[in-house]
Symmetry: C2
């Protein structure tokens, strides 16, 4: 009997679903649209149907499998309540009781749990990835926003009301850039993909850099991939974008280290494809901001999870973790 | 049989010792000088003699007592190793194995443990104080420096190598004031008692405030008590010192909340005697820096521990906590 778990990653546009074995291998993956109609009951029915269909398909080629549970990663996911709460990028209003609704559809499963996407990635790193032997680490996920998952003594930290791990909202610059959350100077406003674009446009203006390839794109068109390509081609503006992004990220990571004394910090997400362009300045800035007792001791590592599958693999890991309890 | 624990607080000049019951009442207190001679063996012998003498005295008036253990709070205290490591304000060189040496002197005691002073204060708040019913909270201790103790799921967080809870070294201002640790812009450089003095002198210079009572003190003489007295008398510079100190502290506390989602933040130390002068701007700034999901939910509370005895009471609490394991 081979045990597998279902991983569900609820994004603003799509909901990805995967059947994942205990080694983190994805046996099957698929998905449905995340609806814009806001009807929770219809969505949960569609999701359940899709999961059942995938389970049936997987059983065709893997006869002896047992589904142990479902892990769900979602924006504003609250582990304690099993809810998605006031997620700005989803069409559902207020509080959605995802775990309760899924338990009604799958009463035979012991482990159904939900958390936010960054926490799911951290659990994925712990169950399948580079943090397998670690008890204390923090995962930063860089993308449209910046999320994080905090692990202390081998357990994810949810805090008093389930929302711990919002390291992307550390204030880096007093009265700095407006953050999507409404506050100012948060890390996310500097180190997310849109944050890198903001830095690029500031630098174009600062240097009047008409000869930079970045000067030929509109604000709405410029992507972090274009900044990376320009950096590879030696563009000074693009190189400085990575320098500054790393400088800011290193400052925030140092704050995290001072709080938690982790063994390692893992970095995950699109901007990490730039490798040393982002890792080197982040490491230098992190060390510069640290107390002597922490200097040259904390590992800064790219995530070991496969970028394409990390969201569903991480979500599935939540089910394994739940079974351990 | 009444159970009591010994609390030891090792400071730069004095080592305070107390015999504390399970309710946090100090039955007896005393102390010895923390030596400047750097001789660890002599110091541990003196400390053991003082503890034994106090135990004997307490037994004279409380016949049926049992000493369950010794908790030690010390700068740069490492819980995992039971050591004080490279403490800049103590005369001991390198690593001092305090717990090992005390166990040789008191082989009959089960619970002998050591941590840093801020962690000890947090455990004190949890065992005896305002955090008795809390599982997730953070304690900030404001004094010559700024320390902190982080509690998650009812346990103090030590992290991978025992040094978690250095929230005083969160970077608040990029490239800001020089911190005692050598880095720049750390919270401690703004919100410790010396940090408040630095703010006062900046403001005197900014406003050329010759009519402020603070203008009549040298840099080396000015104390945070003088700033408090001036604020009570309505001095604008002194009032702005508290405003700015609270503004900075609130920014750092918001970072802590984003990491850990605690139920409450406790504040302890000399500057808290100023009450609302410091609490109000701290609270306002904390709320302004928070994500909406955290706003108006996290309690900001003065410590419930008696300021005079908090260090030994907190240290003694470490012994009780150790017994629970």
């Amino acid at each position: 009997m081979k045990k597998v778990a279902v991983g569900v990653d609820i994004g603003g546009t799509n909901t990805a679903i995967g059947i994942v074995d205990e080694m983190g291998h994805v046996l099957s993956k698929g998905g449905i649209s995340t609806p814009s109609h806001g009807n929770v009951a219809v969505y949960i029915q569609d999701l359940s149907d899709a999961i059942n269909k995938m389970i049936t398909n997987v059983k065709l080629t893997n006869e002896d499998i047992e589904i142990v549970g479902i892990g769900v990663g979602a924006p504003n996911g609250n582990y304690y309540n099993g809810t998605i709460e006031f997620a700005p990028n989803l069409s559902f209003e207020g509080v959605v009781h995802v775990v309760k609704l899924l338990k009604e559809k799958f009463p035979e499963m012991d482990a159904i749990a939900l958390t936010n996407d960054a926490n799911a990635a951290a659990i994925g790193e712990m169950i399948y990835g580079g943090a397998k032997d670690m008890k204390n680490f923090v995962m930063y996920t860089l993308g449209t926003g910046v999320g994080s998952g905090v692990v202390v003594n081998g357990d994810l930290v949810y805090g008093h009301d389930g929302f711990a791990g919002e390291c992307g909202h550390t204030t880096l610059v007093p009265d700095g850039r407006l953050c999507g959350c409404g506050a100012k100077g948060h890390l996310e406003a500097y180190c997310s993909a849109p944050g890198m674009k903001r830095t690029a446009f500031e630098l174009l203006a600062k240097y009047n850099a008409t000869d930079s390839p970045l000067a030929n794109h509109t604000y709405n068109d410029l992507t972090s991939k274009m900044i990376y390509d320009a950096a590879v081609a030696g563009d000074k503006v693009a190189l400085e974008v990575f320098e500054l992004t790393g400088h800011h990220l290193g400052q925030g990571i140092a704050d995290t280290i001072h709080h938690l004394s982790p063994e390692a910090i893992f970095l995950f997400g699109g901007p990490l494809a730039a490798g040393d362009f982002i890792i080197k300045p982040t490491k230098a800035s992190m060390e510069a901001h640290l107390l002597p007792i922490f200097k040259n001791k904390i590992k800064l590592l790219p995530s070991n999870l496969d970028a394409g599958d990390a969201a569903i693999v991480g979500a599935s890991a939540l089910a394994w973790k739940e079974l351990d309890k």
